[in-house]
Amino acid sequence: MGFLDSLFGRTKPVQPKLDDLFGLPSAAVQIEAAMGFKPTGSGSVSFRAPEGKPFADIQKEVLELLAMDDDKPGGGLPVEVTKDTYGYTWLVSNHMSDEIDALVTDLHAVNSALVDGGFGPQLLCTLVAFTDDSHRRLSLVYLYKRGTFYPFAPLSGNNRDNALELQAKGILGDDLRMEQDLTRWFPVWGAPGL
């Protein structure tokens, strides 16, 4: 926020940055090579659904758009819509674990549709899940407003595997723009698609 905006108490909505999402497939290769984590094939987009009909219309359009390629190979399963306990809507897209390109395309389609409808400021984060042979969970969370990624590795009982997260940050530092400010790595416990 600029000086004048503070002075007048105006809030400029923050527009999302979308393009960095396409760095995900190469990051997935890195994670698998260096850490042994594979994509689970599921990813999700989280946003704050505004009240009112215009948004409901757009959400319906997005779902129809994503459902169109379900029959084709690589189209993935139908998108699930869930609402979390904080009132945010999550669109979960499920693919095979080797279809990360298709997954990212799906996620990006959701983003573009929302941004084109003027709802870009409502996007919260996107999450892509990974897992390794010992079933440890790791996810990469993309913060739209900052255009950065951070790792989130949930353990049982609302604990985070910080060591694993920092390892991921070190490994991915060259491929993705990682969030440097650790206070912004907010946890998404029980996020759909995790």
Partner: protein, 326 residues
């Protein structure tokens, strides 16, 4: 690509706020001119009084600005809570901050039964968001309504309201001090002045009257500015959550709760009023027109709800051309 937005800026509010700040600045300039005039009359006692008031006033404003978070927390008896202690509350704040791309403030809980919340701190790195136990557990707010309240408080942080209001109050603080100093020097120092020239005899009463007038005007302007900033925070909060309805119902629940609260809590909370979600003290009358309205730190419930209802309508408009409603 042109950025598309559904946010309609409220020009009227910006204009009114600008006018208020301009008037405050004008009063400030006139006051400074007057003081310089008095100083150039080269009367030692007059100049000393002005200087002392400036130092004390500036000092107290500086202290309250830099320690606003600690002072407010101590006054409310609040305790900072970690994400482990209050996961839900932190979860809501986390998400709102990610949505608004702002630094996360520290989170505190105050033991008061009165349902309320406030945010202070001179900048976003040093701010703290405090909610009362009454708001969390006893107000009957749903999660969405609580989120609306927190979004309102985060808007205060984003708008740097503590800084703005401190700078705005500086003039009133100095003028208020001058009134007091001039009054006492008139009371106790009257005899010593008689040996000086006749001009000087009028000097102290002149400072007294000028300061009193400046104090009264700037006090009213500051309250006006405070009300506008509340409206701005309501607006930004509703736009952040995109859920003005929840904020309206939260306002109604919290304001309704205000009337049932024992007076002990109200008195304890009085100094913090300016940064509360809803004012803890009700002046006579139910926030209607007249005197209570121009002295109040918060706009009337009706005004706040009216503004939010407007945002409600904007969100309900057809989405064919989002830019059409800018």
């Amino acid at each position: 690509m042109a950025t598309q937005t559904r946010y309609a800026p409220d020009r009227g509010l910006t204009v009114r706020m600008t006018a208020t700040m301009f008037l405050l600045g004008l009063v400030f300039v006139v006051f400074v001119g007057l003081i310089i005039g008095i100083m150039s009359a080269a009367h030692a006692s007059g100049a000393a009084i002005v200087l002392v008031a400036l130092i004390f006033g500036g000092g107290s404003a500086f202290v309250s600005l830099f320690f606003s978070d600690k002072i407010a927390l101590a006054a409310a008896g609040a305790r900072e809570v970690s994400p482990k202690e209050a996961p839900e509350l932190h979860g809501i704040v986390d998400r709102l901050c990610a949505l608004a791309d702002m630094d996360k403030p520290r989170v505190a809980i105050a033991p008061a039964m009165m349902p309320n919340a406030f945010a202070t701190g001179r900048n976003s790195k040093n701010s703290v968001l405090c909610v009362t136990e009454g708001l969390l557990y006893h107000s009957g707010l749903t999660q969405e309504e609580l989120e609306g309240v927190l979004a309102h408080e985060l808007s205060h942080v984003a708008h740097k309201d503590v800084q703005v209001m401190t700078y705005a109050s500086l003039l009133a603080i100095v003028a208020g001090l001058l009134v007091r100093f001039a009054f006492y020097s008139e009371l106790f120092g009257g005899g010593r002045r008689s040996s000086n020239d006749g001009n000087a005899a009028l000097l102290i009463p002149l400072i007294l009257v000028a300061s009193a007038v400046v104090y009264a005007i700037s006090f009213l302007l500051i309250r006006l500015l405070s009300r506008y900033r509340e409206l701005a925070a309501d607006r930004s909060g509703a736009l952040l959550t995109q859920n003005p309805s929840a904020l309206i119902s939260a306002l109604q629940k919290v304001s309704g709760g205000m009337n049932r609260i024992p007076t002990q809590d109200l008195r304890a909370a009085e100094p913090l009023n300016a940064f509360y979600f809803a004012p803890a003290m009700k002046l006579s009358g139910q926030g209607g027109g007249g005197l209570s309205a121009i002295f109040s730190t918060h706009p009337s419930l009706d005004k706040r709800i009216e503004q939010l209802a407007k945002i409600q309508r904007e969100l309900g408009q057809p989405g064919a051309d989002p830019r059409g409603i800018r």
